[in-house]
């Protein structure tokens, strides 16, 4: 089973990287509002049960993939 983890800077947290990208996009002439930058982690899992897989990936997020002080995460399970 595959899983994709999206890690984002929490709402309200200053994201200087996003701000720099936002500025560059505007310079290119794109009318953008706020840009925020996160991270994508694609995982190949041994688990085949989606409930167990999600629980395992949640543990991964809590322990390593995201820092709960500044980041939120979302888990998407694939086939």
């Amino acid at each position: 089973m595959r899983a994709t983890v999206l890690v984002r800077p929490k709402a309200g947290i200053l994201d200087p990287q996003g701000q720099a990208i936002e500025g560059s996009l505007r310079q290119l002439g794109f009318a953008v509002g706020e840009a925020r930058v996160g991270r994508v982690v694609d995982l190949q899992l041994d688990a085949s049960d989606p409930v167990a897989a999600r629980a395992e990936v949640e543990l991964m997020c809590e322990q390593l993939l995201a820092n709960p002080l500044i980041e939120s995460y979302e888990i998407e399970l694939g086939a």
Partner: protein, 234 residues
């Protein structure tokens, strides 16, 4: 009786690059450095541990996030839990935060730029084992060199850190990274673990601009000596 030179472990992670300077600085102030590879599961018999600066594990994922799982970090955690003195500079500070040994997290500088310059620091506390040689309100000059030194915590955690008086050093005038409340260095609630973004080990000889970093390192070495003498007296 021959006086033992206080021994300090300097942990070497893959990607550490201030371990050599830390070891040299310790030697210069009368201590002895014991370089400890990150794969070790035990610490040698030392009075303190330094986690040096650098780019452990290439700063992958988040600074310090991977180094935190190095085998030696379990030993550093137990050492700290037993009251052992632990000092983390720069990447070492980032590792201590990721490991939960210090509160908060170090984020990308708000300027998005890597900074490398001398900064002025104000000493907020002199009753920690890392600052006994300083005076309250004293201004110290030390270099910083980092891209991710912006200390951050949410409002509640910041309030807690301030209320407990855990802030030991603040940037004075020039905050190089946008850290909250100009925080440059903090201790844990127990006061035996200290992390700071500036580099005391690069400031132990006036030849390189400032010797103020020696005050921090010598305070640490004094604390080890005090503990040793208490130990032998018992």
């Amino acid at each position: 009786m021959i006086e033992r030179r206080p021994r300090v472990a300097v942990v070497v992670f893959p990607g550490s690059n201030d371990d050599g300077d830390a070891a040299w600085a310790l030697g210069a102030i009368g201590a002895e450095a014991d370089l400890v590879w990150h794969a070790e599961t035990e610490l040698p018999d030392v009075g303190a541990v330094i986690l040096p600066g650098g780019f452990s594990y290439g700063d992958y994922l988040r600074c310090g996030a991977i180094a935190r799982f190095s085998p030696v970090m379990a030993a550093v955690g137990s050492f700290a839990a037993d009251g052992g003195l632990v000092l983390g500079t720069c990447n070492g500070f980032q590792i201590l935060c990721e490991a939960g040994l210090l509160p908060g997290v170090l984020r990308r500088n708000t300027s998005m730029r890597y900074v490398c310059r001398d900064v002025t620091l104000r000493v907020e506390r002199t009753d920690t084992p890392f600052t006994t040689r300083c005076e309250e309100g004293q201004l110290l000059t030390m270099p910083v060199k980092h891209g991710e030194g912006c200390w951050f915590a949410d409002e509640a955690l910041l309030a807690e850190v301030e209320a407990r008086g855990q802030v030991v050093l603040r940037y004075e005038g020039d905050n190089p990274n946008g850290s909250l409340a100009d925080i440059a260095g903090i201790v844990n609630a127990e006061g035996n673990v200290f992390g700071l973004m500036p580099h005391p080990e690069h400031a132990v000889d006036s030849l390189t601009g400032s010797a103020d970093g020696a005050l921090v390192l010598a305070s640490l070495v004094d604390a080890i000596r005090d503990r040793l003498s208490v130990g032998t007296a018992v």
